[in-house]
């Protein structure tokens, strides 16, 4: 009796499809999600995920009807007997130190890794053909993938989906670091989405904003997953992810206030009619660095708390399928503002002007207990005019010491002071408050070595130059401009005749 019941059910099942005349087409569902995470450095990260789950076993059935799952990828899976496919295009690098851990990081350039089914005989041939087909679909130079940049990892890159046995000879991995990501790669990626860029979260995907970012990564992941909790049958899951990080200084001029319009130049208007779930999650775990709190506008109706990537995080949820979220204005523009507590400090800074006035910096700060506070100021050394140097410039120049005026809390409360009765050392500073006393401290002066010219150099230069000019140039000048005359010997004058007379008298030859 107990056995007859499942048997009857089985018989019904067999008769059912036959009776109807054709099998019911497998069902597919779409879930879309956007996670907005303000990062510790003031930037903001947005991660889109579009997941299409298709309850069909492509290996056993001949599929001809495609609804949400894109036909281009479905045909790839059946033709090349794929078990898993992961393809990503990235521009930039995820800076874990400033931004925290990523959800899913990808290497810069293009990365493709594929698990083939056990039934494939020539894996390398299928791999080459697959990369050519993908280069046509995504308008990328994936056809440059060949044996020179393909490896077969033996220990890592285990399948991310369902697997029964992992023989690594069916795995291939290749990276093209020189690959550029631009609108021509985003356009076919967007066309694979069921709602294309017309409705739902994909309305925000505008190329001119998405590429003005520090990090842009778009990926396609195909893998088999469990269809139900007991995991007795397979569904195919297609995930399209896109992560971008907007730079606070480039996009928001240094302010840390973000909104959907500032990031994407669009707002959300309606959910995708084909999606069964369409949500925006905003990370509202506040960071306690600067004592600032995060305020999200419009305020969320539900929140979600969980441990993500090792830390406990709180997310505000905006469900686009909920009528209350997209209100009568048909427009959802999320705004994130950082609210800092009111400051009770004072800063006055007067920069120096050359040869007119010095720097003046005054700050009123509240020092926390049991702590060390360091105040530093940077300055540049300038070159003085040669008359401004002292006769001993190598001694250096002095910078005046800093002054610290503080109200130090007293350990013991002091009595109010009468100026004429008390000793002189108690009345240096007027004391207004008995719980703290006033103190003024000075730091050491600073001796700075300015760049000192060699003052003997002008004399040396003049001497050398003049010598060179005189010797070299003067010689040439003389050689070139001296003319030689032939002089007729003069026949004589009176002085000459007189001289000749005297010479004849001496016995010396005449002139």
């Amino acid at each position: 009796m107990a056995a007859a019941l499942p048997l009857a059910v089985l018989v019904l099942l067999l008769l059912g499809p036959v009776g109807r005349g054709h099998a019911e087409p497998p069902r597919d569902t779409l879930r879309e999600e956007l996670v907005i995470t303000p990062l510790p450095s003031g930037d903001v990260a947005a991660t889109f995920q579009f997941r299409t789950r298709w309850d069909s076993d492509l290996q056993r059935e001949e599929v001809s009807h495609y609804r949400l799952f894109p036909k281009a990828l479905g045909q790839l899976i059946s033709k090349y007997s794929l078990r898993e496919l992961h393809l990503s295009f990235t521009q930039g690098f995820w800076r874990t130190r400033y931004w925290g851990p990523p959800f899913l990081q990808a290497p810069s350039g293009a990365e493709l890794w594929v698990w083939f089914q056990d039934s494939v005989t020539d894996v390398d041939k299928s791999w080459k053909e697959l990369s050519n087909v993908l280069s046509g679909i995504f308008c990328a130079s994936l056809n440059f993938i060949d044996s020179t940049n393909t490896v077969t990892p033996t220990a890592s890159f285990k399948p991310l989906g369902l697997a029964n046995g992992t023989d690594h000879s069916f795995l291939r991995y290749a990276v093209l670091p020189r690959e550029v990501v631009c609108t021509e790669n985003l356009t076919p990626w967007k066309k694979l989405l069921p709602c294309s860029s017309k409705a739902g979260l994909s309305v925000l995907l505008k190329a001119d904003r998405l590429f003005h970012t520090s990090y842009h990564s778009q990926a396609v992941h195909i893998r088999p997953v469990c269809r139900n909790a007991r995991c007795t049958s397979i569904s195919w899951e297609l995930r399209q992810t896109l992560s971008v990080v907007y730079d606070a200084f480039v996009t928001a001029q240094g302010k840390k206030d973000w909104s959907l319009f500032r990031m994407f130049s669009r707002t959300l208007t309606e959910p995708c009619p084909l999606a069964s779930e369409s949500r925006v999650y905003v990370d509202i775990t506040s960071y306690n660095q600067d004592n600032e709190t995060l305020e999200v506008n419009p305020p969320p109706t539900t929140t979600y708390q969980d441990v993500t990537l090792g830390t406990r995080k709180t997310y505000a949820i905006y469900d686009l399928l909920d009528m209350a979220v997209i209100n009568s204005s048909r427009n959802l523009n999320l705004q994130l503002k950082w609210k800092s507590p009111p400051e009770n400090g004072y800063v006055h800074y007067q920069p120096a002007q050359d040869r007119l006035q010095p720097h003046l910096l005054e700050m009123l700060i509240q020092l926390p207990a049991n702590s060390a506070t360091k105040v530093s100021i940077q300055f540049e050394r300038a070159l003085l005019k040669w008359t401004e140097y002292t006769p001993d410039p190598n001694h250096g120049f002095y910078i005046s010491p800093s002054v610290l005026s503080a109200l130090v809390p007293s350990v013991v409360a002091a009595k109010p002071v009468d100026w004429e009765e008390s000793p002189l050392f108690k009345t240096l500073f007027p004391a207004s408050d008995s719980s703290s006393h006033f103190v003024r401290l000075y730091t050491e002066p600073l001796l700075v070595n300015l760049p000192t010219p060699d003052f003997s150099m002008p004399y040396n230069v003049i001497c050398l130059t003049c010598t060179v000019v005189a010797v070299c140039y003067g010689s040439f000048y003389n050689l070139l401009t001296r003319t030689f005359h032939i002089e007729e010997p003069s026949t004589g004058g009176l002085a000459k005749r007189l001289a000749n007379l005297i010479r004849r008298a001496r016995g010396v030859p005449p002139l």
Binding site: N143, T183, F211
Partner: protein, 395 residues
């Protein structure tokens, strides 16, 4: 007697009238046939747009190509019929102050890159070999469809090339050149394989007219931006982007094409007048001797537009969310008694398994080729020297 004369006169008049009417009918038929001969008989349009220059300062060549791409798409040729080859990426270049844009007019008036661009050959794929393979159809079998020129003998093809060129050659990516003879031969191969009906070749480089001097295949019309010995000049720089945005000839061609719509009747003679010497500084040239039709009968949309049959329907289809699908799926699964054991996900980092796995030995193949020959030679020499009786020591 008089009646017979009158009768015969009337008969001749009637005969004359009949002959005249037949003659005029025949003449109009001939005229119809003649007019039909002057109209182009193409059934599909293709475009091959090539930019051959690399590096940021050659921004204008990419902008040239993209502006022709934009016009051609606007006038109706779909992406599947356009092969776009860009040798470098300007839009997402780190030096571009406005990422994902390529402008053709200064003050950023017109973004020719757009949101819907599909580049088929990019970066290092733009080579002379790939270009000639696309034209002649001799591509490796695994090339995807978007990278092929699948034209037939009723296709009108527009080929636009821009870059740096000289007398008789065009430079590809600073590392190789294509000569005018190679180009002419490629077109002849296309003609012999009946890969085009009519071909319009436009080139915007220095000394561009030299590239069409050597064509010898029929039905080719060519335009160039400058004559041999002249340089093609660039149009205007944009101070925000820092480079010249377009070349003059293509700038004025773009302005001319912006006024064309898919139904316009403008003909090729207007395109020949597009950039006079006063605007272009160089003298644009054209060549129509290989073309069978008269250029004044050739419409601009014969090459820049597309022949398409469109049927307009007033039926409306409404999309409704299929909420009942979700419930029926779960019910079906519950009834589905699969007789398999449950599947599980793979462990991402099974340390123990990794440590103890042996490295797979590569399949051993017996030595072949050179090594086999070398060993055979050594063994032969050994036995020749020492005699065959030593073989017993081996076996």
């Amino acid at each position: 007697m008089v009646a017979a004369c009158l009768f015969s006169k009337g008969l001749t008049l009637l005969a004359g009238l009949l002959l005249f009417s037949f003659g005029s009918l025949a003449a109009s038929q001939i005229e119809d046939q003649a007019e039909h001969f002057f109209r182009s008989g193409h059934t599909n349009n293709w475009a091959v747009l090539v930019c051959t220059s690399r590096f940021w300062f050659n921004y204008r060549h990419v902008a040239n190509t993209l502006s022709v791409y934009r016009s051609v798409k606007r006038l109706g040729i779909p992406d599947s019929h356009i092969v776009l080859m860009l040798a470098d990426d300007m839009a997402c270049n780190p030096r571009n102050p406005k990422p994902a844009t390529v402008f053709s007019h200064k003050n950023m008036e017109l973004n020719v890159y757009g949101d819907d661009v599909e580049v088929d050959y990019r970066s290092y794929e733009v080579t002379v070999e790939n270009f000639l393979r696309v034209l002649t159809g001799r591509i490796p079998p695994s090339t995807p469809r978007s990278k092929r020129l699948l034209s037939d003998d009723r296709s009108n093809i527009l080929i636009y090339m821009t870059g740096h060129g000289g007398n008789g050659f065009l430079k590809f990516q600073d590392s190789e050149e294509i000569t005018n003879i190679e180009l002419a031969d490629a077109f002849e191969q296309m003609w012999q394989k009946r890969r085009y009906n009519e071909l319009l070749f436009i080139i915007d480089t220095c000394q561009g007219a030299s590239m069409y001097e050597r064509f010898y295949s029929p039905n080719i019309m060519a335009l160039a931006s400058s004559q041999v010995g002249e340089d093609s000049l660039s149009h205007q720089p944009d101070p925000a982007i820092g480079v010249h945005l377009m070349d003059r000839y293509t700038f004025y061609v773009l302005e001319f094409l912006e006024e064309i719509n898919p139904a316009s009747q403008t003909n090729m003679n207007d395109l020949f007048q597009v950039c006079p010497r006063s605007l272009c500084v160089s003298t644009p040239g054209h060549r129509t001797d290989l073309f069978q039709r008269d250029p004044k009968n050739v419409l601009i949309t014969d090459f820049f537009g597309s022949v398409r049959k469109v049927e307009i329907t007033t039926e409306t289809i409404s999309l409704q969310p299929d909420l009942e699908i979700v419930e029926s799926r779960y019910k079906k699964d519950w009834m589905d008694e699969e007789l398999m054991e449950p599947l599980k996900y793979a462990e991402q980092l099974p340390v123990a398994q990794i440590i103890h796995q042996k490295p797979k030995l590569k399949d051993w193949h017996p030595p072949g080729g050179f090594i086999l020959g070398l060993w055979a030679l050594i063994i032969m020499v050994f036995f020749k020297t020492y005699g065959i009786k030593h073989m017993k020591f081996i076996f």
